[in-house]
């Protein structure tokens, strides 16, 4: 038996790469390679099918069909409204979760992040039970103010906020936790009240995370389906958002469904690109 193993052949490129990185061979072990390729195929094939099957020639007319435009408009509008509401009420909550110290804080954090893992349909049912005509709060809104929320554009915004706001909260909370509080101390010694510190120091310094959280929240709101259809229904022009429109169009007008899906895919790509520094850098998330 040979003491030295039989030589294989190293290409010049492999030689250069190994001498640059050191540490011997880094090629993937064969048993990992095949499953990894299956995973890639599984993730990419559907997207390719979508692009291939898209009615590229009729894309304009299909998308300008009144239902599609309406759905797109409604989706953009409600997702933006949900993001705005999340910023107004979610950022203060993120601050309190990150900086406060009070009994039940951990429980509160768990509750706040629950919608992240909760099936959206359950969220929709819960919203109905709270704000429906017979709901916990809804019955008073109805009898005192004549305000009915379910199956209105407002319900769409509420469903989207319920599902998407946690994305903003956890992103901002993480940023607030890791932010250097020395700057806030410095601001205090310079005479800034706590609100001034928040406005002029804290928020500007976590701006990148705030932006990322808002984009993430908006993207999640845009794609919301389960909670929306449960709590707001699907009235074209009023509560039928893009994802719901895609779902119905698939039965009646597949070309339109594909075209709408393409639009949503495009939006996702844009979101991903805008978040690339945070999510696509590879390795650890900052």
């Amino acid at each position: 038996m040979d003491i030295v193993g039989r030589p294989s052949r190293l290409t010049a490129r492999e030689r250069a790469s190994r001498s640059a990185r050191g540490g011997g061979s880094r090629s993937a072990p064969a048993p990992l390679l095949a499953p990894a390729l299956v995973a890639v195929a599984f993730l990419v094939l559907p997207l390719i099918a979508l692009i291939i099957r898209a009615p590229w020639a009729r894309l304009g007319p299909v998308l300008s069909g009144s239902d599609a435009t309406q759905a797109l408009q409604l989706s953009l509008l409600t997702a933006s409204a949900a993001t705005a509401i999340s910023l107004v009420i979610g950022v203060p909550l993120a601050w309190i979760l990150a900086r406060g110290s009070f009994p039940g804080q951990r429980l509160l954090r768990a509750l706040v992040t629950l919608p992240l893992v909760l099936p959206p349909v359950v969220g929709g049912v819960a919203l109905l039970l709270a704000f429906g005509r017979d709901g916990l709060v809804g019955r008073y809104l109805d009898s005192w103010f004549g305000l009915t929320i379910p199956f209105t554009p407002l319900a769409v915004v509420m469903a989207e906020t319920f599902v998407a706001m946690p994305f903003l909260i956890i992103t901002v909370e993480g940023a607030l936790r890791s932010a250097d509080q020395g700057f806030e101390e410095a601001a205090a010694t310079l005479g800034a009240t706590r609100m001034t510190v928040f406005r002029r120091v804290t928020v500007p310094m976590i701006a990148p995370s705030l932006g990322a959280g808002a984009v993430l929240c908006w993207a999640r709101a845009l794609g919301e389906f389960g909670a929306t259809i449960t709590f707001a229904g699907s009235f074209p022009g009023r509560t039928e958002t893009m994802p719901i429109s895609v779902y119905y169009a698939l039965e009646t007008d597949p070309d339109a469904a594909i075209a709408l899906s393409l639009v949503l895919l495009l939006v996702s790509v844009v979101v991903l690109v805008s978040l690339r520094d945070r999510w696509l850098r590879g390795g650890s998330v900052p």
């Binding site: 700057f183 101390e185 410095a186 601001a187 010694t189 310079l190 005479g191 009240t193 500007p204």
Partner: protein, 364 residues
């Protein structure tokens, strides 16, 4: 010295942080620069933090210009944002998202001045500190020395009655440090309120401070002029800072019995009981043979434990009764063929031994 009702800073308080307790009582007059020296963990930063209102005192009180700003007895507490205190932090903590001018205008603006008034106040300080050309830069684009000046301008622009500087030069490299030090001295001399300057560099304290306060383990161990501290260190730490050998002992007439072992004979020192004896490393003579005995000299054997080259001389670490640090020339090292383990004789003239008791304020 100031008393509680007059202008200046008056502190008599305990500050707790976890298991650490800082216990201090001192006063600082208007215009006085007090250097706060001490090893890491001595409580220097805790002291500044309490004065700035970032940590409340646990007992006692802090009075600034006759006004109580913190009193654990009555519960009175002025929040950090409402104290007329300027704080220059160790790493400056300049707001990275604001320009130099906006950083300097931050305090006037936060203290309620209008945008234009704040800007003109900032401009004045930028001008005074020679920063006008940098007004539009972001802190990330400044050199260490520039950032230090901006931090000082930002602290002063709030028109403080008390100025606190936490190791203002430690973030600078050795070369810029000297220039900035000279400049800082000029600016500090123009400041009319009391100023506390934390440092662990004794030279910095000597150059910048009118008075020094040495903290060790949360207590003031020495207080006085820098010259006093340099001549008569109260503790081992201060002695090391100023480069002296220090021995605690008991005087009985001319004989001083050292508590760490060994004895000196020092005629006419005029002290009795517990004393400290300080001696310069360069005042001790090293010889390889036992020198002639003399009443004006103290002689004892010692063994070399280590040698360190310091610029133009060699510092010997000697073990004996007592142990000592001694400076000799490199030539002497060669002539006497000194090396670790060598047995030598040490001689010091009685007149080079400074004998004193722990003065007032020199607790420990």
């Amino acid at each position: 010295m100031t008393h509680e009702g007059s202008d200046g800073l008056f502190v008599d308080a305990e500050v707790r942080r976890g298991t650490f307790t800082l216990s201090v009582a001192f006063a600082a007059a208007p215009g006085q620069v007090v250097g706060v020296l001490g090893p890491n963990g001595a409580g220097k930063s805790t002291l500044l933090s309490a004065l700035a209102g970032l940590t409340p005192v646990a007992t006692g009180r802090i009075v600034l210009d006759g006004q109580v700003i913190d009193d654990a007895g009555t519960g009175a507490f002025v929040e950090a944002a409402r104290r007329p205190v300027g704080f220059v932090f160790q790493n400056y903590r300049l707001f990275p998202h604001l320009s130099v001018a906006e950083n300097v205008a931050f305090s006037p603006r936060a203290r309620g001045r209008g945008r234009r008034a704040a800007k003109s106040a900032a401009d004045r300080w930028l001008d005074r500190l020679g920063l006008t050309g940098l007004a539009d830069r972001k802190p990330g684009d400044l050199s260490g020395g520039q950032a230090q000046r901006v931090a000082l301008a930002r602290a002063l622009a709030g028109d403080p009655a008390l100025l606190l500087l936490d190791e203002p030069l430690s973030a600078l490299d050795a070369r810029t440090r000297l220039d900035v030090q000279i400049e800082l001295r000029r600016h500090l001399s123009e400041f009319t309120g009391p100023c506390l300057l934390v440092t662990h560099d004794p030279l910095e304290a000597l150059v910048l401070a009118d008075r020094v306060l040495v903290l060790e383990e949360g207590r003031i161990v020495q207080e006085g002029t820098p010259a006093q501290a340099a001549r008569r260190p109260a503790t081992e730490y201060v002695a090391r800072l100023v480069g002296l050998n220090l021995y605690a002992g008991r005087a009985d007439g001319p004989a001083v019995e050292l508590s760490g072992g060994g004895a000196f004979v020092i005629p006419d020192h005029g002290q009795q009981g517990e004393v400290l004896v300080a001696v310069r490393p360069s005042a001790v003579v090293v010889s390889s043979q036992r020198p002639q005995a003399s009443s004006a000299r103290n002689t004892w054997p010692a063994q070399i434990a280590g040698l360190t080259l310091l610029a133009d001389r060699v510092r010997l670490d000697l073990e004996g009764q007592p142990s000592a640090l001694v400076d000799v020339t490199p030539a002497a090292v060669a002539e006497l063929s000194l090396s670790p383990g060598s047995q030598v004789w040490l001689t010091v003239k009685a007149t080079d031994l400074e004998v004193y008791t722990r003065g007032p304020g020199q607790r420990g």
